[in-house]
Symmetry: C2
Subunit: 393 residues, 2 copies
């Protein structure tokens, strides 16, 4: 989509915190530019949102702030990714339907999909998240937890799974490090600007992640790691991966909330148990007791056993080997399905049957020929052997 | 029942290992004496059993061996408990219905109720097992497991629950010790004669249990702790208590088999998790992964939360507050229900309506008067206010 759309998404994220459901709905109805205009004109559908926009607006001009952020990102070698980009991770769109049972707190209600991501690192974001598992847990992890998280990070990366976490001290850092040590791909989803990843103590780790993996954030460069942002961010960690593994957590910790979001999103929710004598395993054991669908795992093999399956809310990846026909766009499919089952036909007749113009028909026929689905003969075009139309198979 | 029955049960246990289903069925059909005669006459219904009886028979006269065992037990201050004794634990009769999924091994199939128990210690066996929880686990327990089992034993005993285990090294011993340290009741269910409890290294512990709790075995004094007997014994540990807690277990250990028996018997099956890095927790985690009805517990509070509820196979205790009427025997209830709803009536007429003799009617009326349910008036007996018969409420 246009630069306007991109700028508007950045401006909207700055004006209102990510995840705000009413903003996401406005963008769907009016486009990002229209939604931004409405909000700046004081037309936000909720009083709270109107006040928030007005307050931010007094700090600066939203479009100018957004333009600055984009310029700053360009200087950092970072990029903005929006839903129309090829690398947009489709899985985060499932957040549309996310509903946390008994949600009353703002962070539990405002769990709409992100409007954009800031990304630093060479991999296309969507590809990196295609086969990904989150590993989360306590910042004040014990040596036991750090050991387990490192092993998990290493083992998953070693089997070509991307390890996603939040870049925090403790379990998060151990999981990232394990993945890096395996020479694998790891993604840190931050709750602040990717130019100032938090915590500072993990700066060297963030540098390695930025080089070998991805640093990702919904917040623009320069944004501060405010406390509520971690919980807002957790919905992305939960939704963007096939499953989340909780390694250590005290009672009611942020990590247990990530797992609750994974459960609500229909992702695989996995928990590593620990000594019952450890306060850092209380949250883990609580989750296992309270959620029958949270699965106890003791290592990589168990995790792979889970995420290897298809979760209820995930688009099922093609099970059958991909055939050329699966790659066709609508028009090419129409042309292919309009081919006579026996004998050949001319382009004009085919275009008429397929409901496309002759120029398009010729373009699609050349593609179909390339894919070995159609043969050009003296008397026109014919189906190649074994290429009966999908509707006839 | 008669001394003959008791002697026959001892002889049958000596001739055939405890738990043999066909022997238990014969006892139900013919009585213990009849079953013994049939077996000694070579009439066992299965070839394997016939051979086993014949082999044992060459070692001695079954009745003489049984008489010796009874005499030996008397000298030890031990007693034989059979199903007609008041202290027989009714819960072990549920073993009639126990069926282990996919059972093919002898120890998984031959899980019939015991024919008798040898008991050493002052408490009536049934009373001791009335509010009881089993705590089982690895012999090669880690300090972590020993700590947890000791705490569980202590905590359960402290709350007036009997702690049942197998007297083995490791988890078993820790659970018994915890209970003893709390000044509570603990029962060791042995797989050998109660005069030679195994292992010898726990001799001092067995002495304490024999004084403050109970040593129990299905095998007669002098019986050796043969390896298969431990698994046979485990069905009793599982069935005689409201639930079994597994603390530490390597993969496929005897303790996990006790828990499987608890699950099959409809008892509460509870598992304490541990570090995933410990080989001694592998069996525990396996059970939690494989059995949705096995419950993760981290301490006494969780255990009590489970066993405090009514298990499928347990007689439900009265939920409503007990009223005087609930204490009445059948005759008293009949008399009460025969009272006219209004006005008074004479004893003769009441006795006739209730279908009891006058003497009984008078006795029951005096009880009902005592309980405040009936009033004696000049014109006979009348219901006290608020004491309408149960059928009328």
């Amino acid at each position: 989509m246009s630069d306007d759309d991109r700028l508007a998404r950045v401006a909207l994220t700055w004006l209102t915190e990510p995840g705000t459901r009413s903003v996401h709905r406005l963008v769907e109805q009016l486009g990002a530019g229209g939604a931004l205009e409405l909000l700046l004109d004081g037309g936000a559908p909720e009083e709270r949102l109107r006040a928030a926009v007005a307050a931010r607006g007094r700090d600066g001009d939203a479009r100018a702030v957004a333009a600055d952020a984009l310029a700053r990102a360009a200087r950092l070698g970072a990029r903005l990714v929006t839903p129309t980009d090829g690398e947009w991770p489709a899985t985060v769109e499932h957040l549309r339907r996310l509903a946390l049972p008994g949600a009353t707190r703002r962070v539990d209600v405002e769990t709409a999909p992100p409007l954009c991501f800031w990304v630093r690192g060479g991999w296309p974001l969507g590809d990196a998240l295609d086969r990904a598992v989150s590993v989360v847990g306590a910042r004040a992890a014990t040596p036991y937890g750090v050991h387990v998280a490192t092993e998990l990070g290493y083992g998953l990366a070693d089997r070509d799974w991307t390890v996603v976490s939040g870049g925090a001290f403790g379990i998060d850092a151990a999981a990232h490090r394990g993945a890096l040590n395996a020479g694998g791909l790891t993604v840190a989803v931050l709750a602040c600007g990717i130019d100032r990843p938090y915590p500072m103590g993990n700066a060297a780790l963030f540098d390695r992640i930025g080089e070998a993996g991805l640093l990702v954030s919904e917040w623009p460069p320069g944004a501060e790691p405010l406390r509520p942002r971690f919980l807002v961010r957790n919905r992305v960690i939960a939704a963007a991966t096939r499953g989340t593994v909780l390694v250590e957590a005290s009672a009611r910790s942020g990590a247990t909330q990530t797992l609750n979001r994974a459960l609500a999103a229909g992702r695989h929710a996995m928990v590593v148990p620990g000594p019952v004598t450890s306060a850092m395993s209380v949250g883990a054991h609580e989750l296992l007791r309270e959620h029958p669908s949270a699965r106890l795992v003791t290592g990589v093999a168990h995790v792979l056993e889970e995420v290897g399956r298809i979760g209820a809310d995930l688009a099922p990846p093609a099970r059958a080997p991909q055939r050329p026909r699966d790659l066709l766009d609508d028009e090419a499919t129409q042309v292919l399905e309009s081919m006579p089952r026996r004998g050949a036909t001319g382009v004009d007749r085919l275009a008429a049957r397929a409901g496309v113009d002759v120029r398009t028909a010729l373009r699609k026929l050349s593609l179909l020929e390339e894919l070995g689905l159609v043969r050009r003969r003296a008397d026109g075009y014919a189906l190649a052997t074994g290429a009966a139309p999908a509707s006839g198979t």
